[in-house]
Symmetry: C2
Subunit: 431 residues, 2 copies
């Protein structure tokens, strides 16, 4: 836990008012203009959000890699019981984390309300079932993939992608629901269920956590848990519905969402072309939404054409930027330039313990969300940063990444608090 003095110091980073923010916006506009002159030839293309797409490279599947993540040995599958919140519930992260882990979301009345709704889609009946006997013939998997994506968008997904399901994304075992684990004192191995899932494909769904809310929050307030739960609930319901639809077409399909997973989502998201692994070492960053999403998935044997992993220059960008590490109130994120080996692949290794302890124990709010807020990619699709960044980052130049980050810092971008977007009720006495 941070001391009161450390917290105070950390808070002071978030002082920009709306008025200052607007003034800086003008200056930023100027900076964007400068970029325009510097990159005259490319900017006309780069200033439209369409250009972002053109800067994203499709990588396909290559031996020894998952997208821009290097695989150096057999990747060790994990048990759900070894996830951060489970480790906290099992007492691995200390008494405070063990006590707080089941109340850190519900202690805010809104987070609690949204979280409680997840239980209604947590049952096996909600996530899986038997396929219809009549099987739709699929002569063109590419067209079916387009159809599934349009269906997900119709169901209100913000982004959707299709990948080959990496076998190492599957948990070895599922754990019992977190409250049960906590009431029993610890998760015993007897409670674990081996995961068997032979689906070749994974459909991943992202739901935006809400830009305006993010602009109004700091991590030292009550809304982060609600943002997570809203996106988890919404993406979870979409996944359940989409899986039921695929079963109605005669194919096997199972939804995976935050109240009922058989897999760790990050490798699935990378495989489905929804982002690259970031400096946080845990969260997949999407080129339009940044970290500002929660995800759910459907695994299936419906014939599909995978999108495959993408590269928009994030690995080179994260190597230089370090903004999430500088602002992380728990000190959980690595400052290293180089990635290191972790369970068979390369990443910036974070401290799950510090991150979990801070989030569940946060006495100034519910959860955190700081890395999401300060990340320069947590932004509107058509902002100057995304336009300039998408172009410059795609050059894979460390210098460009440094320059962008310096300008981002200079204008307080990512650390502004927009007062008009602080719409939620605070309830500090509950934290």
């Amino acid at each position: 836990m941070l001391s009161e003095k450390q917290r105070q110091k950390d808070r002071e980073k978030f002082l920009t008012t709306r008025r200052q923010f607007l003034k800086l916006g003008t200056a930023m506009g100027g900076a964007a203009g400068l970029f325009a002159l510097m990159n005259k030839k490319h900017t006309a293309e780069a200033v439209t959000s369409k250009a972002l797409g053109s800067r994203v490279r499709q990588l396909g599947y290559e031996e020894g890699w998952l997208g821009t993540s290097r695989i150096v040995g057999p990747i060790q599958r994990t048990s759900e019981a070894d996830h951060g919140f489970y480790l906290a519930a099992r007492g691995f992260f200390g008494e405070d984390a063990k006590t707080q882990v089941t109340r850190f979301i519900p202690k805010h009345p809104l987070g609690g309300a949204i979280s409680s709704m997840r239980t209604f889609i947590a049952t096996e009946a909600a996530v899986t079932g038997n396929p219809a006997q009549r099987k739709l013939s699929i002569p063109d998997p590419k067209r079916m993939t387009e159809h599934i994506k349009k269906t997900a968008k119709f169901l209100k997904a913000d982004e959707v992608g299709v990948g080959i399901l990496p076998s190492y994304a599957l948990y070895t075992h599922r754990a019992p629901p977190l409250p049960k684990v906590l009431y029993e004192g610890s998760a015993s191995l007897e409670d674990l269920t081996p995961v068997v899932n032979n689906h070749p494909y994974v459909i991943c769904i992202l739901v935006d956590q809400n830009l305006e809310t993010m602009l109004g929050s700091t991590g030292y307030d009550g809304i982060s848990g609600s943002q997570s739960m809203m996106s988890y609930l919404t993406s979870g319901l979409i996944a359940c519905t989409l899986a039921a639809y695929i079963r109605n077409l005669g194919y096997s399909a199972r939804a995976h969402h935050c109240a009922n997973y058989e897999l760790a989502l990050p490798p699935a998201l990378i495989s489905a072309g929804l982002g690259e692994m970031s400096r946080t070492g845990e969260s997949v960053l999407h080129p339009r939404l940044g970290f500002r999403h929660k995800a759910a998935a459907v695994t299936t044997d419906l014939p599909l054409e995978p999108d495959g992993p993408i590269d928009f220059g994030l690995r080179e960008f994260c190597a230089k930027c370090r903004k999430c590490a500088e602002h992380c109130p728990s000190g959980a994120i690595s400052f290293e330039e180089e990635q290191t080996v972790y369970k068979g692949y390369m990443k910036w290794v974070n401290s799950i313990e510090k991150c979990t302890q801070f989030r569940v124990g946060n006495r100034d709010g519910s959860s955190c969300g700081r890395c999401m807020k300060v990340c320069p990619w947590n932004n509107k699709e058509d902002s100057w940063f995304h336009s300039a960044g998408a172009y410059l980052a795609s050059t894979r130049s460390g210098l460009a990444a440094t320059l962008l980050k310096e300008i981002d810092d200079m204008f307080g971008y990512g650390t502004e608090v927009v007062e008009q977007y602080r719409w939620w009720l605070e309830w500090p006495e509950l934290y």
Copy 2:
């Protein structure tokens, strides 16, 4: 049921291709320009979507009226068992309707999938519960109302309004779930539960049924049921979550959605300022979304400040337009200019029997949605029609309404089929 010849004739109204539609769009732009010249003084204001708001009059609550609906005597509360689909299930609308009523949505694989998800939020645990013991003090109901609306929008409501709960909106009795009714052959009065609800306020939530999908559909295809269910499911989950949140604030709150209602929504929607009763006699038309929404509600004793009913000139518009009646494939909608007395209030009286029979028995699709599609108000917020219409309709001039409708007809607006938006799978052999 319509004969094949009648159906063919009705289909022929929907022949505009995308190319023709775009050409007509240019002509319509010209017409909009003409309006601009005709109404020079007001058009600068009227062409922005903001202006729509300025053309909507707040009416407040007046004895003998609910918004623009005239109340002539005590309004008779109805039983849920007397609703169209229940009457069909109970055999009042003939054998075909009785057989088809539980399969007309699930016969399309997508409609069936979305519909099945509704069961997870249909339980009493999902819609109601005990308030928290700790009660938030609400010194300023107006601010709380703003907060509740922002919360609903955060939860992904497209529109939200607050009204005094009209007592006559409450059902006298709730009926058992439709499948149960059907399997038992008829709803016996013993199965009905009296409704007791003393909440003073109702919060209403609208979810858009998706503009593009509507532009691609005709009613003779499989998507209408899916559109309904998507909006019902989404608005229902928002209502359940919002009710749980209000209970967490220490107040009583119950969600009402399509799988668990205690009330008929139309009077609640009018009271919450989300539209006026339309020529269809059943559906409340919203000034931005038209009929292109489904709704859910939360009744509560949380201190709120009601928005109250609105008037944007719809009654005068509907009196002249009649486009829904002309295009209704079942002939269920009145062509009368004047409203007539029905159960204690004035409305254009529709035939629930014809409407229900057509929707559940539709052999060329799943449900219908035609009135929603052809209504000139089923439109984008910033279209010329909404800008010109919001201004002209608000003049309450029958001539203006006639003129607008003639132009709408002339350009095939509302009867176009935009091929690129026909994204769903058709499955005519199941209909």
